[in-house]
Symmetry: C3
Subunit: 271 residues, 3 copies
Amino acid sequence: MSDSRAVIANKTAQLLQTMRAARPLVHNVANYVSMDVAANALLAIGASPAMVHAREEVAEFVAISGALVINIGTLSAPWVDSMLLAVDAAARHGKPWVLDPVGAGATRMRTDTVRSLLPHRPSIIRGNASEIMAVAGGAGAAPKGVDSANTTDEALAFAVSLAKHQGCIVVATGAIDVITDGHRVAKLANGSPIMAKVTALGCALSGVTGAFAATAGDPYDAALGAVAAFGIAGEMAAERAKGPGSFRVAFLDTLESIEGNDIKSRLKIVS
Amino acid sequence: MSDSRAVIANKTAQLLQTMRAARPLVHNVANYVSMDVAANALLAIGASPAMVHAREEVAEFVAISGALVINIGTLSAPWVDSMLLAVDAAARHGKPWVLDPVGAGATRMRTDTVRSLLPHRPSIIRGNASEIMAVAGGAGAAPKGVDSANTTDEALAFAVSLAKHQGCIVVATGAIDVITDGHRVAKLANGSPIMAKVTALGCALSGVTGAFAATAGDPYDAALGAVAAFGIAGEMAAERAKGPGSFRVAFLDTLESIEGNDIKSRLKIVS
Amino acid sequence: MSDSRAVIANKTAQLLQTMRAARPLVHNVANYVSMDVAANALLAIGASPAMVHAREEVAEFVAISGALVINIGTLSAPWVDSMLLAVDAAARHGKPWVLDPVGAGATRMRTDTVRSLLPHRPSIIRGNASEIMAVAGGAGAAPKGVDSANTTDEALAFAVSLAKHQGCIVVATGAIDVITDGHRVAKLANGSPIMAKVTALGCALSGVTGAFAATAGDPYDAALGAVAAFGIAGEMAAERAKGPGSFRVAFLDTLESIEGNDIKSRLKIVS
């Protein structure tokens, strides 16, 4: 049985507060497009982001970080090498790590890179519906570049199966966000359609998920909390925005100011 | 003879609508500075951007895209290799591609890179006045780094000659934007001086030109439409901005909300 | 004896005006996170930024620039090679250059890179307190990734010693900003705590310091002027901001609009 709305809201509010007090160092091997907004989202919500990718230092940096986030958005061969060194270090040092399989399924290189990363056991995989379907091996997945061509409803069975098979948490984000450990499934309906009009917000969410994973004992709570806080902040910011430019500004403001009470009053769980 | 103002405005309004309905995937081999704002401009105006540069996947990605945009802003040797693979794939798959020759003329590497790309027949070349003069082989071109040291009036003859010689569309942007296929010449006077105070807006325009090129039958209409919509959005945003920071925000908002009627009422053609 | 508040304010106001009139080309070998905001800060305050890092062109570009800024934020081996070529060219062409030792002390690669750059004699070194302590060889330095774990008060003796040993200007920024040439010490108390919630503002300040260094006869005046103008703009912007998102927007607006009188009325020197 899944947790009730009140339990999730209370856990998330508590987790947000604990994370802000700890201010975890989140190590991102990120993509060029998302680095600015992901770093700003992490700073705004209260974590300490770093973007480090050189093969000479990536393992050393994992060791001093609270969590690692691997994002395959703007791949190249040297970065794939560094990603493998980083996730290997995460395993050795017992650090949680989040995989964001940007554009999985769109090219062979992306599919191969995901396949080489999965055996290193990510704690959490977060992608859009098409990406999660592609990672799960779904033949029906048809990503449109890096944007999703599927709904999370279509991705649900793939997400559950992937989570079971990998023994990790899987998050598929969209109009409805799905979080599952293969047994429990939570569906959240916060957020705003305008979030799809701002680049790299998915990547920023993966970064924030890293901050929560560095803090929570259970990665399921971390994933749920990050998705809830991010979506609710998006919903609050959308109420003040005139378009994608002013939305991004209001969103970063809201990530900084969002409080436990906002989560308790606004969290939307769907069944 | 060139098209009348009304014909251009109507075509552009129609093209904008068609582009938004099709939501073309625009593949950018972009530069590090412009990736964020170019991706956001493309999302805001209604296209689907992707930034992909690895030699292992760049050709494969061109095949699924509606248009390709090559931007030489932050060059390095591996990226030049990927650009050549990408434009070769564009030719094989019959995809339109846009060349943004950032800083052409400033260093030998930039001049050489442009020379190696030109035989692959870009559909549209978009740069500032100094860049277009440098690409056309103008001895008088004196770029100041990546900012123009010339007016588009000085660049006009070079643009026309380059368009004729290359058999492509050439766009030189500045206070007056010049669009030519070597025979027809259109001069547009929309935009705002504040656009020169925000980094990478030229790169973002090249991206948006890719979205229009993916949609229009004639690359001349695509270039004209992109320049018109972009300049008019800039002019509208400048009316709400207090400086370059708030301009960028208002500009992204306006790219999303701009409609055919804005183009019909505001388009400024100069003769 | 150090300059009085009035002398510093007048010099800075004059320098800002001279820099805007000259609009120096500032060559940045920057990091991926900061490129957007650093370029926008440089454009806003009135300089002409360029981001150029390829080993094939970096030395050629230094020759046409007014100043060089080396930022080790997102290191990799090819970039380190380019940094060494760039600083070597700066020495040959007599160009001032600014070193931003991002994350110095956090990994061996960062420490080694700084060590290989220092003999090329930077004009100005600008970092946070922990970075300056690490560059000076302080055993007590404990950087938290790329964020400081120390105050500039703790860093003061290290900054003075580093400046003397290197024969350069050292700037340690934080709640109090310290500028020293090893003999004179200035402490500035402008700025706002919200600046630590926006990514890469330290990098942007290093870029702006390059613009001032391209203009001033004395690098001490350049460093002091850049820190003063940047901090005062930050303080003015914070008065209009609701959070880190709207702060960044207001900050870029203010960098463009800030005038000599703002500096004269707001400069805070502490003793």
